[in-house]
């Protein structure tokens, strides 16, 4: 840059990039626009046969793929499922997310959607009665007759994982069980809250937490690999009524209703029973 220092690397023939002329910039811009015009529609345009779009609570991840597959085999209607927190889906449905059916982890959100006018009245139906299991990284040593919940106070289990009671229905049930057992005070310092039940499963799987509350479906999945589970009885955590609802903005309400019938029908319920859900 300094005129005083004479440039020594002289004559290596490097070209300037002053060749970037306004005309070329303009053409590049136009070409980019054209490219976007061509590619974007292919991305966003609906496919010939749009699948039935389901927003499902995270605890269904272990079981819903099988049910959806059976449904598609029977009716020929493809199904596409998004898993997430019931609370987030509730917010998104309130802002017209393009789902056809919402399967919540509780009864509260679907009923609320119907009341707010985002759900089709009469389509909020109970599809499962979700139960909790308590998962331990190893079988706790217990005196006979003592509830395994009490084993949570054993500090050798490390962190206790449960879903956040403020946003997750299963978290509320877990907290209820701890309250009934009188363990909230002693355990508060040791518990970790997951955003949803999937995250709780993640904590347990990786060993970040030594024990925790899971929905029966996910507990089933985890048990096959390691650990020890104890089904939490209804006296400790009342079973969760899980509801689904067809959404007002859906253009495929009939297909959504037939999915509802399939899930509540005998073949759908068989899947839930096998996974440990009650009805």
């Amino acid at each position: 840059m300094d005129a005083g220092k004479s440039g020594s690397g002289k004559g290596n023939g490097s070209r300037g990039f002053g060749i970037l002329e306004p005309g070329q910039v303009l053409w590049m811009f136009l070409a980019g626009l054209l490219f976007c015009q061509m590619v974007l529609p292919s991305l966003s345009c609906a496919k010939d046969k749009p699948p039935l779009r389901i927003a499902a609570a995270a605890d269904l991840e272990a079981i819903l793929p099988k049910i959806a597959e059976a449904f598609t085999r029977k009716t020929g209607i493809p199904v596409s499922v998004s898993y997430g927190s019931s609370g987030v889906f509730f917010l998104q449905v309130r802002h017209h997310a393009p789902f056809d059916l919402f399967m919540s982890a509780d009864a509260f959100y679907p009923a609320r959607l119907v009341r707010l006018g985002d759900g089709v009245p009469g389509t909020d139906r109970i599809y499962a009665r979700g139960g909790l299991v308590l998962w331990f990284s190893r079988k706790p040593e217990l005196a006979p007759g003592v509830s395994p919940v009490k084993a949570l106070s054993d500090p050798s289990f490390g962190k206790i994982a449960l879903a956040n009671p403020r946003v997750a229905p299963y978290g509320r049930a877990s907290l209820h069980c701890l309250k009934v057992s009188g363990l909230v005070g002693t355990l508060r310092a040791r518990w970790v809250l997951g955003d949803n039940v999937s995250q709780v499963a993640q904590y347990l799987e990786t060993g970040a937490a030594g024990a925790g509350f899971l929905p029966v479906g996910l507990g089933e999945k985890l048990r096959t690999e390691k650990g020890w589970t104890w089904p939490v009885p209804g006296s400790c955590a009342p079973p969760l009524l899980q509801k689904m609802v067809v959404l007002k903005t859906s253009s495929r309400q009939e297909a959504a209703k037939s999915f509802e019938s399939f899930v509540t029908g005998p073949s759908g319920q068989a899947f839930f029973r096998k996974a440990g859900y009650g009805r």
Binding site: M1, F17, G18, L20, E21, P22, V25, F29, G32, C36, V39, L40, S42, L43, S44, K47, R53, A55, A58, E61, A62, S80, V81, S82, Y83, G84, V88, L91, Q92, H95, H96, A97, P98, F99, N196, S198, Q199, A201, Q202, E205, K221, L222
Partner: protein, 220 residues
């Protein structure tokens, strides 16, 4: 290809980075060459999304994009489908989310161009536009490209905003980072590994791009 999470992520990052580069140039110009108050205000405004929790920003954008809002309603009237939960919605959200990553390197580049060069362009008869396109922008080309690569990389790794605004719809708004997260949570490690590998690949390519750019800038 376009509907796989990899394709969507690639496309989203590419489109976002390219639009941001075009959009960022005049913004960076405004920040670099306005008076002190204007430049401080502009920089704060642009960087606001850096401190905002992505999920909260995503919720805010989702509300803005929904057909209930004036903006979302207008978009739906013009394009025939809502902005929220669509690929276009993701693009708009990513542009807002990655804005500082495109604007800041370019602002720095603009500021480091000696004012004597810009004065000389004026003395040689160039107007503002000519000076901008033929002197300022070409000299700042490394900054422009750094901004492109950074916003590309940032969009690849974006999660909270995409989850909120996009709604995790397979084939349309499910990006690699959401897929990786979902696979991890559902204990599906085989698929998670694939998604993470793809993410890693994209990140490596972007970072390599930045390294090459830096080398070019030092030698140029």
């Amino acid at each position: 290809m376009f509907h796989s999470p990899f394709g969507i992520t690639l496309m989203l990052s590419f489109v976002t980075a390219s639009i941001l580069t075009l959009l960022g140039a005049p913004i960076a110009y405004g920040i670099a060459f306005s008076n002190r108050l204007g430049s401080v205000a502009g920089e704060i405004l642009v960087s606001l999304t850096l401190v905002f929790p992505p999920a909260v920003l995503g919720y805010f954008l989702m509300v803005c994009f929904s057909p209930d809002s004036v903006f979302g309603h207008l978009f739906e009237r013009v394009f025939g489908h809502p902005l929220a939960f669509s690929f276009e919605g993701l693009v708009v959200a990513s542009i807002i989310y990655s804005l500082p990553f495109a604007v800041q390197p370019l602002t720095q580049s603009f500021r480091s161009v000696p004012s004597s060069h810009l004065e000389m362009a004026r003395i040689l008869g160039a107007g503002r536009l000519t000076t901008f396109f033929r002197v300022l922008l070409p000299i700042s080309l490394p900054g422009l490209l750094t901004g492109w690569v950074l916003s590309f990389a940032h969009t690849v790794g974006e999660f909270g905003v995409v989850l909120m605004v996009g709604g995790n719809i397979p084939g349309e708004t499910r990006t690699l980072s959401i897929e990786a997260y979902e696979d991890l949570l559902s204990l599906d490690f085989a698929n998670a590994r694939k998604a993470v590998f793809a993410l890693l690949l994209l990140s490596l390519v972007s970072l390599l791009g930045i390294q090459l750019l830096n080398r070019w800038r030092r030698s140029g």
